[in-house]
Every structure is written in C-alpha cells, then in structure tokens.
C-alpha cells in the first residue's frame, strides 16, 4: 500500500459512495436557500459571508462523521496501521481525497449562492479565496476530532463539541478577510494567517490524527 495508491483508492471509493457524498452538499444548498426566504433582500449581502461560512463549517462537519468510523468497523484501519507506508502519509491522502469530494463542490455552488444573496462577483471571489484558505484547516481540525471519536457510538456529537470551538478562529479570520475587502482595505494579514494555519494543520494534522487513531483502536 503506497500513499498514491491509497489516494486513488479513496477517490474511487468516494465516487462509488456518491449518494453519501452528495448529502452534505444538499445540506449546504438547502440551508443557504433558507436565509433569503426569512431575511429582507437588502440585508442579504451583509449576511452572506457569515451564512456561507457557518453553513460550510456545518456541512464539512457533517461529512466528517463517518471519516474513520467505517474504517474502524470494517477492520480497514488495521490494514492502514500495519501498512509499510507511514500512517500519517496515508491519512494526508485520505484527507486530500475527502477535501476534493466534499469541499470542492461547495465552490461550484458559489455562483448560485452569489445570485441568491446578491453578492457582487469581486466579493464572491474574495469569499471563495477565504474558503480555499480556511477549509483545509477546518477539515483537519474536524478530522482530529473524528479520529478521537472513531471508536465511540455517539461520536457525531463529540465531533461537533470538539470542533466548533476550535473552528472559531478560522471563522473569525475568514470573516475579517471579507469584511476588510468590502471596506476596500488590504486583507493580506488575515489571509496570511489562514494560510499559515493551513500549512501548520497540513503538516502536523496527519501526525496528530495517526496518534489519535492508534489510541482509538487500542
């Protein structure tokens, strides 16, 4: 088992599980569609970044519920643990495949979101950039919680309880980006902070997840 082969394996598996993969995207679209129905149209552009980010956060958390649980239940995790390739590299590949399958479609839904919330194209691009910078850290944070709760029956709630408070800085910095951009200010500082978080999460996250999974299984 090599990391590249495992990456292809994960993508192929996610492609076969397209019904499950589509659910968080539907959740994302349905929740986004609720706000324009209950808020006056003039308030929507100012609400848009917060609504988008909170909905994206919840939809990512929804997708993480089964990230490792299935592997624990079908015994697949033991094969990952015993693989000659480092577990952290396999985990990194799994997370990359998960981001492609679950998070990338959120970007494709952005034009529709712009239309519903009357967000100008330039602001939409800033929102997309903030999502691109923030979602990797968000996914990795959630994956750490998913790994810790993989062996538990009610792991879904624990996943939310662990991730939501930890996700707050990412949410705040992402919203700062859109806020500063809307006011014509340079938003490089919060963008660099999110980028730094993404790099640190991507470097350390798989190691922490590997250790968490080992604890979960033993």
């Amino acid at each position: 088992m090599t990391p590249s082969r495992y990456f292809i394996f994960c993508l192929r598996l996610l492609l076969r599980q397209r019904r499950e993969v589509a659910l968080p995207l539907f959740f994302f679209l349905i929740v986004l569609s609720l706000f324009p129905m209950v808020f006056p149209a003039k308030d929507l552009p100012s609400l848009a970044p917060a609504v988008l980010w909170i909905t994206a956060l919840l939809s990512i958390l929804l997708s993480l519920n089964n990230l490792f649980r299935e592997d624990v239940e079908d015994g697949f995790l033991t094969q990952l643990l015993l693989s000659p390739a480092p577990l952290s590299s396999l985990i990194a590949m799994k997370l990359l495949a998960h981001w492609i399958a679950y998070v990338l479609p959120l970007f494709i839904a952005l034009p529709l979101f712009g239309l519903w919330y009357r967000v100008p194209t330039e602001n939409l691009l800033v929102l997309a950039s903030s999502l691109a910078l923030g979602t990797p850290s968000l996914l990795i944070l959630g994956a750490i919680a998913a790994a810790l709760s993989a062996g538990l029956k009610q792991g879904g709630i624990l996943l939310m309880l662990i991730t939501l408070p930890l996700a707050t800085p990412i949410l705040l910095f992402s919203l700062t980006i859109t806020d500063m951009a809307a006011n014509g200010l340079s938003y490089t500082a919060p963008a660099y902070f999110l980028l730094a978080m993404a790099i640190v999460s991507a470097s350390l996250g798989p190691l922490v997840i590997s250790a968490s999974l080992r604890i979960s299984i033993s």
């Binding site: 495992y6 394996f9 598996l13 076969r16 015994g75 697949f76 094969q79 643990l81």
Partner: protein, 193 residues
C-alpha cells in the same frame, strides 16, 4: 533470533480488571504453524493484535526478526463493499493480473471479480480478504479465524496454501476454534484459558 521469526517473552494483557493472559512466552520458528486456541473471549484476537503491533503490550516484550515482514488478516475482512474484489486488491498491488491470480488462488470465480463486494456472500468476501496473502511476499501470516464462513473446498485449498507457505520457510500464527487439518507442516498449539 536464529531460526525464529518472533520471540514473545512474558507478555500480559488486562482488560479493565480482567486479566486475559499473563507471563505468556513462546516463539515462532521458521516453517511452522502456531495455532492459538481458546474459548470465546479468551484473548486470541488480542494476542494476535499484540503480536502484529496493532495493540501495545502492557507487560513483556515481543521481538520480531527485523529483516522480515508479515501480513495480518483480522476477523473483519477490511474490504470496501462498494468496490469490486479487484479494486480492493489493487490497493496492495497495482497489477490487475496479480490481483486476478490471487483471487483465483483462493477460489473466487472470475465472474465475481468485478462485482461490488457488498453483492458477494460472506464466504466470498472472506475469500477476497484472504487473497491479500498472495499479493504480499510476507514471511509470517497472522490470521484471525481465517476459515470463518468458508466452504470445505476453500478450507482445503487454504490448508494447501498454508502447507506450501511453510514448506517455503514461511510461518503462520492462526487463531482458530477448530483444530487445523494441516498434515505437512509442523503445528504448535497454544491454548489460552
């Protein structure tokens, strides 16, 4: 470690307050099958998991010959139902031919090779899991209840593969309830009470 793949010294494992085993020592020579026997819940799976490194020993030491490698097939099949047997096996070996050969060696008919595994019976799924043995050149096979759900024909086939493996110098540690019907290999038995 001359002539031994694994040497186990005074290991112990406790679940909560219940001691599964303690002061357990044995070794696995080349070309030998070690059968771990014991009633349900006696700790056969735990012992295999300790040997494989999935779990860590609470006491004692397990010495592996560092120059060799091993394959572990647990009592769970570790296959993905949405993928076909070939797609599952390609994770371990990218060659379609090698994967097909492995499935044929365990006796899974060609017509099942490309069907999603969830459409296969429990026995056929077990065959897919066991076929991983033939994709690795592991010196030691660690098998947890390998014969579960298998028909007599496949059990005999698997026994022949085990005999061939040991005649080539390989070894196996097998947790199984039923006594193994191996005739041509040296069998050691370890009963956990």
């Amino acid at each position: 470690m001359t002539g031994q793949y694994v040497k186990i010294e005074k290991i112990a494992y406790t679940y909560g307050t219940r001691s599964l085993f303690s002061d357990l020592s044995f070794n696995l020579p080349h070309g030998c099958v070690l059968q771990i026997m014991g009633k349900n819940g006696s700790g056969k799976t735990t012992l295999l998991q300790l040997i494989s490194g999935i779990k860590t020993c609470q006491e004692g030491t397990i010495f592996w010959d560092k120059t060799i490698h091993y394959t572990y097939i647990g009592h769970k099949n570790a296959i993905k139902g949405e993928l076909s047997p070939i797609e599952n096996l390609k994770l371990y070996n990218p060659s379609d031919n090698k994967c097909r050969q492995a499935l044929e060696m365990i006796g899974l008919e060609l017509r099942h090779h490309l069907r999603p595994c969830y459409m296969l019976s429990a026995g056929q799924q077990r065959k897919v899991a066991l076929s991983r043995l033939f994709l690795s050149d592991a010196h030691v096979w660690l098998l947890d209840e390998p014969f579960t759900a298998l028909d007599e024909n496949t059990k005999n086939r698997m026994t022949l593969h085990l005999e061939k493996h040991t005649s080539n110098g390989g070894s196996a540690i097998i947790a199984a309830h039923e006594p193994l019907k191996i005739q041509k290999s040296v069998i050691k038995k370890l009963v956990i009470k």
